[in-house]
Every structure is written in C-alpha cells, then in structure tokens.
Symmetry: C2
Subunit: 524 residues, 2 copies
C-alpha cells in the first residue's frame, strides 16, 4: 500500500528533516591523526583518547560517522584490530554506536563536568518563592505550578496530567508495542491451568512461577545467579524503594547516599521513609566512590546512571565493591539496564557481591509502568525483614499478572519484545540526536548508548544564563513535555533537559525538539 | 449420568448424614407459647424474644425449622403479620434464615457472652512457652508451630502452606466460581480500547474507570453516596489498613480501639504502623460503644462482626455515630458485607457520617483475594494524606486489572457473580450447620446469616477444659484446617473455631466437620 499520498505537508517536511543525511567524516587525513604520537602497545588506547577528545571538542559532532575500520587502519598504517578495539572502547563508553553496514556513529559527548557551572540552575528546595518572574505570553497554556514552583511530592502527577501534544518525559518505553495479543494468549493459558487455590491468598514474596522466571531472567540478562526463593516480587521500583527504605530504617540506617545528579523521584521515596539522602558527585566514570567514605549505604544506577547515562567505570566498580566489602551497603537500582543499543551488557553489581547489594528491577521499562511489577533481591541479612515489609504492605502482588508475566518471560516472548523495542528505540534515539543537532545546536548530548532518554546540557563554553525549569515551562507552553535536569540535582549544576525518545514516533520527536529549540531561542 | 455407583463408601455415608432430614418443630403446642403473656401492641417483640430464648437455651436447636407463619398465627390466634414480623427480627439478628418453600430455619445461637469463661483459652502473647505439652500421636503430620506457638506475624502464611485435605480457613469465597471467561472477555475489550498512555504511569488513586465503578457499586450495594474522586483504589484491605494506619499516625493518633474478639490480622497490620490496639468488648448487639469513651479512634466490622458474625444493633449504631460526631473516628472494615443470606442489607456507617468514617472494602470476598484490589473512602480531612501515602507506597495499583474489574462491575457481571455465590454459599453453610449438629453436638453456632464463615464456641453450660489451638492442631493432624477463636481474642474468651464454608463443597464440609468432631472427642 502506498502511504505517501495524503500525508500532511508539515509531517512530510519534518520526516525529511529527521532523515537528512549525516555527512560522514572522511577517512583521508581524518582528524590529522599521526600514529607516530602513540606509544607502541597502547595504540588502541591512544586512538580512543584522540577520538574522545574530538567528540568532546566538537570536531566530531553528534551524528557524524566514523570512518570504516578498514579505511582508517589503512590510513594510519596500523592493523585493523587496533581501530576496532578503539571503536569498541568508545562504544562501551556510550560515545559512539555501531550501526552495522551504516558504520559507527557518534551518539553522545562525554558526561558533564563535575564542577558547578557559572550560572546555577534552580535548587530543589529554595528558600522563599521563585515564582516572581511573570510568565511570558507563550506560557499561558502551561498548567500553573508544574515548572514554576519547586517540585513537590506530586510533581510527577502534575507533569503527567498536564496537557501536551508531544510527551518527551523520560522513563517510558514504546507503549504502543505492548504485546496485547501475547498477553491475552498467556492469560488464557493461565486461566486454563490455574487451580482454585491460585485465586486465594498467596505467598507474600510472589508466585513461585514468577520468582523462578525472574531468577532465570536475571541470570540470562543481568549475570545474576539467584535462587527463586531469594526473589521478592514487588509493585514496581516505587514499592521496592519503600520496602527497602523501611527495612534499612528498622536496621538503624538513617541515610542513604545518592548520586547527584540523581533521580528526584528516588529521593522522594527514600525521604518518605525517614531517610536522609546526602548527595555524592557523578562524573564521566559514574559515582565518585571516594566521596562515599563517610557513608554507610548508597543507592546508585550503575548500568545507566540516571539522569546522565554514564556507565560506572571498571575502576570505580572495583572501588565500590571494596567499599561495600568493608561494610557499605549498595542499593542497585537497575531501572532500565536491559535497554542498551551500542554497547555490551554491563553485569549487575549484585552478581559480584550478593551479600552487600540489594538489587531492584522492574518491568516498567521492559513492558509497561502500568503493570506495577518489579523485584527485589535483598542481601541475606535483610531478606526476612523485606518479606515481612512486603507482607504488611499488601500481602503480596496480585497473582494473575504475575502468572501471565512468568509465561511471557519463560517462553522467550519478553526477550522478543525487548529486541523489537531495541530496534524501535534505536531509530527514535537517532531521530532525536539528529533533531538536537538541527534545532538545539548549543546542546551537549549525554547517555545515548542505553536507556530510554537522553540528557542534554547547555554547559561548557556554551553555558547559558537561564533556568532549565523556564525552558521546560516554555516548551510545555508549546505543547511539549520534557523534564528539567535541575529537578534531579541536589547541588547546583548546569541547566539541562531530560528527553525521553522511546515512547514517541520519530516525527513527534523531531517536532518536539524543534519546539524546544524555539522555546530556547525565545528565552534568550 | 448416574454417579451413585462407584462412590467411596465413606463418602456416601457422610453425604447421607449431611442430607438427613431436620425434624420440623411442630406448630401445635409449639414451645407452649401463650400469647396472653404478651403486651398488646408489642406482640411481635414478645414472640421474637420467646423464640430467641428458645434458640439460646437449646429448645430450638440449630437446623430446626420454625412453623409456617400461617400455622403459628392460627395457633396463637394472632394476625399472620405478627408472626412474620417476629421472624423478620430473628432473621435480621442472624438467628434464623428464610428458606422460601422450605420454611424458616434456625441458623445461629445468640453471640457468646461478654464475660470470660471458666476455662480461659490461650492468650495471644503468653509469657514463656506454651509448647510443653507433648503432641498426641495423631498430631505428627501437622507442621510444627502452626498451632503450638503463639501466632507470629507469619501465622497466616504458615496456615496457608500447611498441607491439608480440607481447608475450612475463613475469609475465602468459592474460588472455583471465579468468572474466568467473563474476565478474559472484559480484558480483551480493555485491550481493544486502551490507548498507549494507559500502559504508562497513572493516577495514584486508581483509574477513573474503576473509581467510577466503585462509586456506583457502593451506591447500589452499600448505600454510600460517593464521588469517584473520593475513591482511592488500593491493594486489598491489607494495604488499606497500612495506609490508613500511616495517615492516622502522621495525624498524631497513637491507638485504634478494636473489637475483642476481632481480627488478629487487622491488629497485626495496625500494630505494624506503630498503633496500639486496645480491646473493646463485643456482645450480642456488636461492639460495646459505652467502652469507647476513653478512645479517639476505633476500627470495627459493623455489617458482620469478625469473627462472631453479630450485626451492629440499631441502638449501638446510633450511639456510635453520636460518639463519632463528638470527635471520634471510625474505620469501617466492610470486609464481606455483600454476602448476606437471610437478612436485609445493613447500610454502611460511611453512608451516615462520611466526615468521621474511613471506609475500606475489597473484592477479596467478592471475587478473589489474589486480585489484591480494594478501595478506601477517607474522611475529607485525611483524603490528601491518603493519596500521598498510596503514591509513596507503589504509585497506584496496576491498571489492567482495574480496567477489567471496572467493566465487570459496570456491566452487572459482578452482581450476577455475587448472586451465584450467594446461592452456593447458602447451600454450603446449611451443609455445615447440619454437619455441626451431627458431629459437634456441644458446639454453639454464631453468625450464620451472612459472611463466609461460621463461628462455633463451646461455651455456656457446655464449656470445655481445652484450648482451641489444641483442637485446631488435632484437626489439622486429621487433614482439616480451621482457625482457633483464641487467635482473635486479646483477652480470655471461650474456646472456639472459625469454620469457612464458602470455598469447600458440601461433601468436604461434612467430612471436615466430622474430622473436627473426632479430634474433639480425642482431646477430652
């Protein structure tokens, strides 16, 4: 069927813009690299460093294509393995992405610097009102208070219920892909085999079927060896945090250090349990483990740091495990680790030190947040307390969706779904990177190698004198939702936006980013 | 198909015993009643009182049939309306049950007396071990600790996972009747109409569809007028108690008075939130409101007191509402109010004083506990705090089951299901009453007019020198699960058993009660 006729004109223009060809970097005299500068035996390292610098300083802009390994190897007169290895390192960092026959593309600049910028964005809990600035005319359609007040505990409900044409809120996968037919089919099978007792009260830890399926899933996808009996099924990461917080409070823990920037929602959930959440810096290698010395417990997102997208580096990882081995407790929030595009999977910390790592995962980013299903693996000493907390929270998750999910996991259906999502998400991410290059030329992109969102900042030489909450408000006034980075900062940081790409089609992404570009130009 | 051949001999004997004809009380010289003793204008009251006494002292045993109204009216030379009204009162009390063409049958004796019995049953938290008594040989198959230790917080998990042939645990409806086909059909419709956003994060109060359906349901079935916006969907009564407890604690409440006897599970959930649960006596009219003076908040089960089955009397109800009007807070646990067999519905307290009543209901007894779905209507001053507590508990219930349930409620499917359950449950209850008469002649039955369980006690002139936990253990050793009454007592009370009849077929009920009878004989 020919769908090209009858498409609205503005759409087709935007689609064309999204699909515009990204000029490939030339392999001839590429970056004026001279392999003579490299120490022998460290040439792949040297090449990766050169490329990283070029990406960082803009000589290799986002979306640009690296030369084919064969060509660059010939050019530099090194073996092809040296180039392949260098590309592999950049890919693991999340800076470039392998594209099969389309080559290797730059997808993200290095993480934002740890030092505070010259123009502090809004603080999370400022003293007094920050609403003195009169709204610009184009802000009139934005619901009052969403971005003009410091975020309260209902902030995500406010954002969710704000009307918008295009929703680039982070943290949601492509929901149109939800496997409705497979779910119904599995549910029919469950009804066909479920005994009457299965409709009664059950084990507060969850059904044996789902605990087994989760154990298998974690072994296949996250490198974790766990017995089904160690798995506690919970109502999503939100409940995981509530229960873990409760258990740690009862154990005498009064604070859990968190990444800064780090999820505002996570902080809110922990604080609700009476825990303090002291900030620990994040840099290009992930959380600064040296800052953990004063702390007893930390919550972090090692596989894909929220919101920067940094992967916890190998040295940091080893330092963190040493810290935990000396008595520290790690809460590993593995919120979207299955979504990786251009890099190998990073095994969960839990796989290395189960005694000191409390692991939380969910299907919110795999299937749908509306399923409210997740899991926790507690360290042995907290296991009974966790089960008790779950029992008195709600006696256990509902049984039917657990049994359906277990079937989807054990039959391979969920992995098929994940592969489909990866393909779609990758296309959408690429469309977003293109749109950012076209419409937000001052923005730096972070964390594109995995996850469901990008972070853009306006730091470095291009730092701007504006608050990202104003940019988010101005964008919403243009019908586009995005989250300001400052919400996730406890201490001052560069202004930025979190842009979810997974849940929107490429045309909407391009249109949304263009609207944000307009909003930014008006703000200046 | 002829099923009479091939049935095991012991089964057919028991079935025959269950179906044995109950001798009808004769209308001629029935109870030697003399209407001349009655004050004119109060003759229905007088007759109801005479009959109640006869039931209480055993002259009208359980299962016996009252004379037809026409016959007794002729006998007493009063208008038929006097007799009908007297029967109606007994029916509202839950002492007799109208059986259509089968007449009116005695289904329960008045509630146990409030004063302590001569042989106190085990206390909930005794000092020291009570496990000194060596188990009898027939107790060897019973899992250790279920009934031989004071009940800990995992007691209901222990009971659930104990192996047994017949499960007479209270609180579960007929789960074989779960409307699997209707559920699947409704779910297919939901999938057919749900937008992608419906799979995302949602309103922590629940989906608008289910909140609307619950508001309609409560108006039709419980006399409550509520706006959908007042309804908060929760994960069953367990979560309702956790959230209400949290909200009240934050509001400075330190104790919630509870009925004694009253649900052990409810007490455990409230205590988990740091609340004390001082006991308030229950008598034949329900909770003793005069004992509430020293208290600020109370949790009760007015429609069908757990575990006695008493309905809160009219005078008590008015006194309770006066107490609440003077500043008391009522938590109304409406756990199984839809299940009534022989009496008109009692409107919820919430319908009369919404400002002072926090109402909790669920589908655990309507459809299945495994759905983990319930609702709370908070008084206006606690509403925001309740929503906040739900948000930080789990961000709201899963969406799909809410939408399916909303369809079943709005289409009339759930009411059809309830009518089917009522018919089945009533037959099972009658089988249980018959079996109790045959196999536990010393037992007094309470609370048969509604709900999913009976309470039997061994009090009054027939009080026995045994602990009901021993009886429950001995029954479990014979493959039959039942809950000891003493679990639900905070202060000493008569020994008793809670026997759920709704989830088991009549043959299993008869067999189970017979086994309990054997266990009782062996204990003596």
């Amino acid at each position: 069927m020919n769908r090209s006729n009858g498409a609205p004109v503005d759409r087709s223009i935007r689609a064309e813009s999204a699909a515009s060809v990204i000029p490939a970097a030339s392999g001839s005299d590429f970056l004026q690299l001279d392999i003579g500068d490299a120490p022998f035996g460290g040439r792949a390292d040297w090449l990766a460093g050169q490329l990283r610098r070029a990406i960082s300083d803009g000589r290799l802009p986002l979306g640009s294509r690296l030369p084919a390994t064969r060509i660059l190897a010939a050019e530099l007169r090194v073996s092809r393995g040296v180039v392949t290895e260098a590309y592999q390192r950049l890919s693991e960092d999340g800076h470039v992405a392998g594209r099969g026959r389309n080559g290797t593309v730059v997808v993200a600049a290095p993480a934002p610097p740890a030092e505070p910028p010259r123009h502090p964005a809004r603080r999370e809990n400022p003293v007094g009102s920050i609403d003195a600035k009169a709204p610009a005319p184009h802000q009139l359609v934005a619901p009052k208070g969403v971005f003009t007040h410091p975020p309260g505990e209902d902030i995500f409900d406010l954002v969710r219920s704000a009307p918008a044409r295009i929703d680039l809120s982070p943290g949601v996968p492509d929901l149109t892909a939800f496997p409705r037919a497979a779910w119904l089919r599995a549910e029919r099978e469950v009804f066909g085999s479920l005994s009457a007792a299965g409709f009664g009260y059950g084990d507060p830890r969850g059904t044996p079927e789902l605990r087994r399926a989760v154990a298998h899933w974690l072994a296949r996808n996250r490198g974790i060896r766990a017995e089904p009996d160690e798995v506690v099924v919970v109502a999503g990461t939100a409940q995981a945090l509530a229960l873990i917080g409760q258990v740690l409070r009862e154990d005498g823990v009064e604070e859990i250090a968190v990444e800064d920037p780090g999820s505002l929602g996570v902080r809110q959930h922990l604080r609700r349990q009476g825990l303090r959440t002291p900030p620990v810096s994040v840099d290009a290698e992930g959380i600064r483990v040296d800052e953990l010395r004063a702390h007893r417990a930390v919550l972090l997102t090692p596989a894909h740091q929220f919101p920067t997208g940094v992967v916890l580096g190998g040295a940091r990882r080893r330092a963190l495990l040493r810290w935990a081995g000396d008595g520290g407790l790690i809460v590993e929030d593995d919120y979207d680790a299955e979504h990786r595009y251009d890099r190998p999977p990073v095994p969960a910390l839990r796989s290395m030190l189960p005694e000191r790592v409390c692991y939380a995962g969910s299907v919110s980013k795999l299937l749908a947040p509306a399923l409210r299903t997740g899991w926790v693996l507690a360290p042995p000493r907290h296991r009974d307390a966790l089960v008790s907390a779950k029992r008195f929270a709600d006696l256990g998750n509902a049984a039917l969706p657990q049994l359906v999910l277990a079937r989807l996991m054990e039959s391979g259906e969920l992995e098929r779904h994940l592969r489909l999502l990866r393909r779609r998400h990758r296309r959408r991410r690429d469309a977003m990177i293109t749109a950012i290059r076209d419409h937000l030329p001052g923005a730096v992109v972070h964390g594109a190698a995995a996850g469901l969102h990008l972070l853009i900042t306006f730091d470095g030489d291009r730092a701007e004198a504006f608050a990202d909450t104003d940019l988010a408000a101005a964008s919403l006034a243009r019908g586009v939702k995005a989250h300001p980075l400052s919400w996730h900062h406890q201490r001052p940081g560069p202004p930025g936006l979190l842009l979810g790409y997974a849940a929107s089609p490429a045309t909407a992404i391009t249109e949304g980013v263009a609207a944000i570009g307009e909003a930014l130009r008006d703000l200046r």
